[in-house]
Each structure stands twice: as C-alpha cells, then as structure tokens.
C-alpha cells in the first residue's frame, strides 16, 4: 500500500523534479528571489493585447522552459496538468491549446501547484507516465479585474489584503532518478472557519494549512525535525502568525523552520500589505528558489503546503463564508 493514515501517500518510487521554468512580472522581479527566476518581464502586458493573453503566454513559456531545462524531448512529455485563477481556468486551457500536450485542467485556487505536483507524482509513481508537466499561472491585472476593482480606481486596499503574484511556474515530474524528489503528499480537506472577508485570505486559509500539516505529521509519523523548511503557500503575514500559533497549541513548534511564500516573495517596502497570493505565489517560489537551492544542497527536506481559498465573487456577494484547502508535498534530496 502506498497510502499512509487517512490522507497521505508515500510514493514507492518517488518521482523526480527534473526541470523547472519560472516567469514573473516586474514587481516580483524586484522582490527577494530575483536571482532565481528564469525570466523577469519588463512590463506585465508582455506585448499582448490583453492581460489574459499575457497570462496565457507566460504560462505557455514557463512550460516550454521547464521542458527545455529538463532536457526531455517535448514529444516525451505525456501530460500537462495545469490550472490558474480565472473563470473556467482559461489561461491553462488556452496555453494547452498552443502547447498541444494531453491536458488535465485542475483548480485548487492558490494551492494548484501542490495539487498538480501531487497528481503528477501519483501518475508517474503509478506507472501511467514517464514524464509530465505540472504548471500554474496567475496575473495581478487579470485577478484584480475578475475578483476586485478596475486597476485605475482610486480606492485604498485593506491592511489585510494580499497582492496577486504575476507569474507562472512549471515543473517536469519524471520517473528518472535524480534529486530533488517528491516523497510524500497529503491531500487536504476543505476547511471553513467562518471567515467571509475576501480581502483577508490569510485568516481564512490558515486553519486549512494547519489541518493539513497536522494530518501530514500524524499520517507519516514525521515531526518538524524531519524537515529543513516548512513552507506554506500564500497565508501572508497574518495567516502565517495564526498558523504558527495554532500549530503550537497542538504541540508542534515549527517557528524556527517555518516560512510562507506570500511573506517571502516581496520585500516589506514593496507595499503589498499582508503579503503575496495567487497560484504563481507558491509556484514561482517552489520552482525557482526552492528547486534551485535544493540542487545546491542548501535545503534537503522541504514540506510545501500550498493553500487555496475556494470562493468566487458570486459566493462572496451572496454572503457565503470561504471554504479553504491546503495540499502538502514533501520534496526531498534522497
């Protein structure tokens, strides 16, 4: 059995991440991990006619970069598993139209990269493919116009609000044996703690991250000591504090090895309030900084817990609370 406990998978032949591709917008390119991205855009429209076209283009190019970096010929890539934040995941579908790869579109809001990586690892470890790509994108300007207000509206953002990352991240997952490898995956449950404010996603998502982290430790018998770094997706500064405290209450002190992609990606002086969010947030940090520093040996055991808020503008307007999810993957140098 490859299943541990109630929600965790232990991969028998842990699939490898053999290449990644990352593209980010100009603001992200001024952030903390600027040396780790493959391409930093000079402007976020990227010579396209609409923000949506620009997002599709960066997703497509990130996938192409990942395939190129993996040195696997494109015709040996058997699936593209991709998603994004837009209605009917159009960025992913449209990028797949250009790429011509067998396509599985997925949606897990900002947790999508972990969802893609865990599904991809299941496919590879299950023997259903040798090589595949998991990829996601998000774009500040497409997300703003879909979820919030027109860009030029002169409104103030709340201190709890987060900044959607413009970018795309892709990873090639393969049965080839090389580090780093995806060893465990914990599929999260949808947790709703009654938060309803779409301008405060960190508070809404933190309990989902906590639930998945606890479940991961219980299912695997691991402790925080088994990891060099525990990284949540996009809880931001408020959600990160909450998650840390809730875990401490449950007897897991992870404070010395815990961080959050949404806190890290921008410098505080970049004025993004509570931090970053978006599918690309966890993706560009994982495919950029984490992947490259694992190759360098700075990190050897990382637990990525990507978080997502599963609401829509309609559900918010109808007063519904926000259901949230977190999926965890262990990435290790074996």
């Amino acid at each position: 059995m490859k299943k541990l406990g109630s929600q965790t998978i232990k991969f028998e032949n842990p699939p490898s991440i053999i290449g990644t591709g990352t593209i980010v917008g100009p603001k992200e390119g001024q952030g903390r991990f600027k040396e780790y991205y493959d391409l930093i855009l000079k402007d976020s429209i990227y010579q396209e006619k609409s923000w949506e076209k620009a997002e599709t283009k960066i997703l497509k190019e990130a996938v192409e970069m990942a395939i190129k970096n993996s040195k696997v010929p494109t015709d040996k890539i058997e699936y593209l598993i991709a998603g994004d934040l837009l209605n009917q995941i159009v960025s992913a579908g449209f990028a797949a139209r250009e790429l011509g790869l067998p396509f599985l579109g997925i949606y897990g809001a900002c947790s999508t990269i972990a969802q893609g990586a865990l599904l991809g690892s299941m496919i590879v470890d299950g023997g259903f493919a040798e090589n595949l790509v998991a990829a996601v994108s998000s774009h500040f300007c497409t997300a703003e116009r879909q979820f919030r207000f027109p860009l030029e509206l002169g409104n103030q953002r709340k201190p709890t609000s987060q900044w959607t990352v413009t970018g795309a991240g892709a990873m090639v997952i393969s049965s080839q044996i090389q580090n780093p490898r995806i060893t465990f995956a914990t599929v999260g449950k949808v947790i709703d703690m009654g938060e309803a404010d779409p301008n405060d996603m960190g508070t809404a998502m933190a309990p989902a991250a906590v639930d998945t982290i606890l479940r991961h430790f219980q299912d695997t018998g691991k402790t925080p000591d088994d990891y060099d770094l525990i990284l949540t997706g996009d809880l931001g500064s408020i959600g990160k504090d909450i998650a840390e405290e809730l875990l401490k209450q449950k007897g897991y002190d992870i404070s010395n090895k815990y961080s959050d992609c949404g806190v890290l990606i921008f410098y505080p002086e970049q004025d993004v309030h509570a931090g970053a969010s978006g599918c690309a947030c966890a993706a560009v940090v994982t495919c950029g900084y984490i992947y490259k520093e694992m190759l360098n040996g700075k990190y050897n055991r990382v637990l990525l817990v990507a978080t997502g808020a599963l609401m829509s503008t309609t559900s918010t307007q109808q007063g519904e609370t926000i259901p949230c999810i977190a999926h965890a993957i262990s990435i290790e140098n074996l």
Partner: protein, 149 residues
C-alpha cells in the same frame, strides 16, 4: 449570513486580534488634506467664472464639468489611483472621484468591446451611487415638497 458554529465563532475572536487595524488617524488626515485641496481647486474655478460675470448659481455647472474632466483625465493617465491610495475618501467623495469611478471600469473593460465592455461595465462602481443617490434625493425632495404645501 450563514450561522457560525461555536468553533468558528471562537476562531473569529482569536483571529480578530491578529489583524492589523487600518491607520484611521493617518487616513483621516490625508483625506482631509487631499479632499480640501480638490475642493479648493473647485472653488478657485468657481470664483474665476463668477469674476467673469456668471452668478454663483450659474458657475456651478461649468465648474462641475471642469472637475469631472480633471478627474477623468487624471484617471486616464494613471495618476488618480495613486492619489486615491493615499487620500482614500478624500479623493473618492468629491466629484473627481465620481468621474474616476466611471472612467476606470470603462478603460478596464474596453477589451470586452464597446457594448458589453465599456458601456455595460461603465457603471459597475458608480451604479449603486446613482441608484441610491437619485432615489434618496427624490424621496427627500418629495418630503420637502409635501411639508411646504
């Protein structure tokens, strides 16, 4: 609104203390200063028209037109949202802010076409203001009329 369980209510209380408070005093001072500057500019324009022979009542119309133009122009060149970031209500409440609330969605949704984009989306922000502004003005006007009959 959905009914929250006890666990959810406890979490709400716990999380509330973690959230940063908006800098209310700073926001109010900035709104006062920027709102005041916008109104002073309006007053200067109105005084100019009065000095050229219009009555204060007549000067209101052209003044509003110029202020709406300024708000729209600053929105078009991407400045008004930057003012709004610091000024908050100070730049939302004056008529320049109303112009911003109509021009910004019109610009944003131009790519969806002139019918379903620009025209249909133009009032997404300003629409509620118009509906309730006109409705309440009509209601108050009616009450005023009845009281003075």
């Amino acid at each position: 609104m959905p009914v929250l369980t006890k666990e959810q209510q406890d979490y709400k209380r716990f999380a509330k203390n973690k959230k940063p408070k908006p800098p209310l005093l700073k926001n109010m001072i900035m709104a006062f200063i920027v709102g005041g500057i916008i109104c002073t500019i309006g007053q200067i324009i109105l005084n100019f028209f009065v000095s050229r022979g219009l009555t204060p009542g007549q000067a209101g119309g052209p003044t509003a037109i110029i202020m709406v133009f300024l708000g729209s122009f600053l929105t078009g060149i991407g400045v008004y949202d930057k003012i709004g970031k610091y000024a908050g209500a100070g730049s939302i409440v004056p008529i320049t802010g109303f112009a911003n609330s109509i021009v910004s969605p019109a610009m944003e949704f131009k790519r969806e076409g002139f019918v379903f984009g620009v025209a249909a989306k133009m009032f997404v922000v300003a629409g509620p203001v118009l509906v309730y502004g006109i409705s309440s003005a009509t209601l108050i006007g009616l009450i005023y009329y009845l009281l003075n009959m």
